[in-house]
Subunit: 428 residues, 2 copies
């Protein structure tokens, strides 16, 4: 039986899961895959952590050089996260002729061009299914299943932390701050939650997914990004009343006008398949010109679901004698010919804090009309939190982002009428 040696860099959540899966399933893979997958080395500063997972002392490497020079290691698994030292380690491994499997979205998003170049030069494999949406099989679906389509759009709930927070805010009516605290206590959010709640994590993943979907490099810096820290229970409740669920959505669209990529809080119709993706579950909804709609749903994070994606890549790498990297133009920057749409079209939810006096609705309506914004739904409450003020909620028809922003400025300039409290995009 073919023996394949694996080294794991980093025994954190995903690394620990990967070690556990490989060691506990060794016999399963001998039987079902015809290969003997053996963990030959781990690299982990926290020696106690490694020993507590059952790693034999002689398999704990002192440094990356020891792993690169170990002839029994065929595949190096990078599950450390962050750019450095992960990047140097991966390049060392590739240059030593080892294939690499990584779950590191930040590294892959920012430096895939460098990593792929090194992989090609050394005739090594480079696999990254685990960089996006944990156990959900989305990378290979884009590369090997949907690759015959002209992909029109990709919409995803691709961050578990924010989906957990928004689900709790929706179900319990709690505030963002309260739910964040609970999520941190339960381990769903990190002590410093910025990467998740401000949408950075989602932009890294959307950069990778949309580059694959649209066959051209989409740098994460081109992605319009807004987080969920400003979301209030009131907005969630008004959304509910109007038939919408609030999600942090990653959206990529490819049309004749160009490519449009954005991550922001979004209302989705409560009948849309993405609306029922709750808690820490994730899903990606892809529309192709031939396949129509496909949704891939599952655990977007966590030790074992992500390990499942890592081990899937390890087995693929070990059982496929010729390697494959990616099919998009894996460049550092976007192709100069790629047009990015920033003045995109969307429906909008606009909530105002309006003075409770006659003529306000007429004045607001005339501002909307001036910017060619047409209103689809409206709620005007009898009374608000502050005396003399009432909430006024609009859902618009499809309109241009910049028109809405100008209308918001115009409304805010007339402070005796109303102030804009929130503007949230709507997918219908």
């Amino acid at each position: 039986m073919k023996k394949v040696g694996v080294a794991i860099l980093g025994l954190g959540v995903v690394g620990g899961g990967t070690y556990k899966m490989l060691t506990e399933h060794r016999e399963l893979y001998q039987k079902t895959q015809g290969i003997d997958l053996v963990v030959e080395n781990v690299l982990e500063r926290n020696r106690e952590r490694a020993l507590s997972l059952g790693v034999p002392e002689n398999k704990i490497a002192a440094n990356i050089a020891e792993i690169c020079s170990n002839p029994d290691v065929d595949i190096v698994v990078e599950v450390m996260g962050g750019v450095e030292p992960a990047k140097s380690f991966v390049l060392s491994a590739l240059n030593a002729g080892k294939s690499v499997v990584t779950s590191n979205k930040e590294l892959f998003c920012k430096y895939s061009h460098e990593l792929e170049k090194a992989a090609r030069k050394n005739n090594c494999g480079l696999f990254y299914e685990a960089t996006c949406v944990g156990g959900v099989p989305v990378i290979r679906a884009l590369l090997d299943n949907l690759q015959g389509n002209n992909v029109l759009s990709i919409m995803g709930i691709i961050n578990g932390t924010t989906n957990y927070i928004l689900t709790k805010m929706t179900d319990d009516g709690a505030s963002y701050a309260e739910v964040l605290k609970e999520a941190q206590r339960l381990g769903y959010a990190e002590a410093n939650p910025t990467a998740d709640v401000e949408g950075y994590d989602a932009t890294y993943k959307l950069s990778i997914l949309s580059s694959l979907a649209f066959h051209t490099k989409i740098p994460y810096t081109k992605i319009h990004r807004e987080g969920i820290t400003q979301i209030t229970p009131a907005d969630i409740q008004y959304g509910k009343q109007l038939g919408y669920v609030l999600k942090l959505l990653a959206i990529g669209k490819n049309s004749e006008d160009g490519i449009e990529v954005r991550v922001h809080p979004t209302y989705i119709k409560n009948t849309h398949p993405l609306a029922s993706v709750k808690d820490s579950y994730n899903a990606v909804y892809i529309t192709g010109d031939c396949v129509e709609d496909v949704m891939l749903y599952g655990r977007g994070a966590g030790a074992m679901p992500t390990a499942s994606a890592v081990v899937g890549d390890i087995i693929y790498c070990a059982t496929h004698p010729s390697f494959r990297y990616s099919t998009f133009k894996n460049t550092e920057e976007a192709d100069p010919a790629t047009k990015f749409v920033d003045n995109f079209k969307s429906a909008y939810y606009i909530r105002l804090d309006a003075h409770d006096k006659a003529g306000v609705l007429a004045k607001v309506s005339s501002i909307f009309s001036r910017h060619n914004i047409s209103v689809a739904q409206m709620i005007q409450e009898d009374e608000g939190e502050t005396e003399g003020h009432v909430p006024l909620v609009f859902i618009t028809h499809q309109t241009k982002e910049k028109s809405v922003m100008k209308a918001v400025d115009d409304i805010n300039a007339t402070s005796d009428i109303a102030e804009v409290v929130s503007v949230i995009r709507v997918v219908s």
Copy 2:
């Protein structure tokens, strides 16, 4: 640029879609995949059909031999359906050194062992993503993404016709016969609907999917099969009242007790992700020991969604220099060591037509109790359709299939008490 020649056997719904996709996207594939995919031949008895699709006259082959001896044909696409002549044609193609892509579930389910043997002998590829669930990327997910898992169960809505019929019966309260007629008119059901409505189509697909998931051959003859022709609007309504949606579910389970495979109408909790899969949409819900729950959702049939799967395989075949077949023990019969569970456990919905007199519930309860069946929910109506009779509906806790069947016999034997009208399994 590498030129890859394709021949399409059969220009029906899927074949026509495949021809359209390949010809309309030829430039796209040159640009994104670096290959020139050219349709070199088609085999279609209906010459008019071929010409109306735009096939040049000189590309219409007279017979399979012409295609097998055409040196420009690299990949043969079989989208004819049925066992013969599809089987002979596929074997001829493989023996002529052509790789094969097929969407033919019946052929692949029944003869994959023969086809794979011929493919290996001739060092050709054999791809079959389109055999199961149209554009939903489930075969490759099982082979290349989830293959590191011990798959515990697979549950699928994998037949579009029956899901369309059950959705309409649920939403409109219409009878099976009425909706079937409408479905036939709209092209969602065939003139002879047996293969779909009696569950044969679903057993072919479940045979393929569970063989891959459980790494051992699961012949379709081992699958317990019941169709939807006996379903009444009343059952659907009682299910609704109890919080369930009725679906034709294909279920495969792998546990220490053995393998359990069945296709039958099933109530699913209305909060389950499969419950919201409506109309002709399909979905497969897979549970692995590491990945936890994954759901793959999309169009399970139709010209272009299925063509998307066919073309995905064509491109994979054309761009992957070394081929891969399957990882399950692709034998004709089940491995003698495989244990099949027929007395499986499930919750049950049991509807009785009961005599409206004192003591009936007590007598039925005592029959349930005698067979160790514990009741979870009950509805007793005030009045029924026939005077002196009332409907009595039970949902049981998990119990053994054979115990339920014995209890049903016992109840029917006491015809002065009640008669069993329907027994439907429940997934909670």
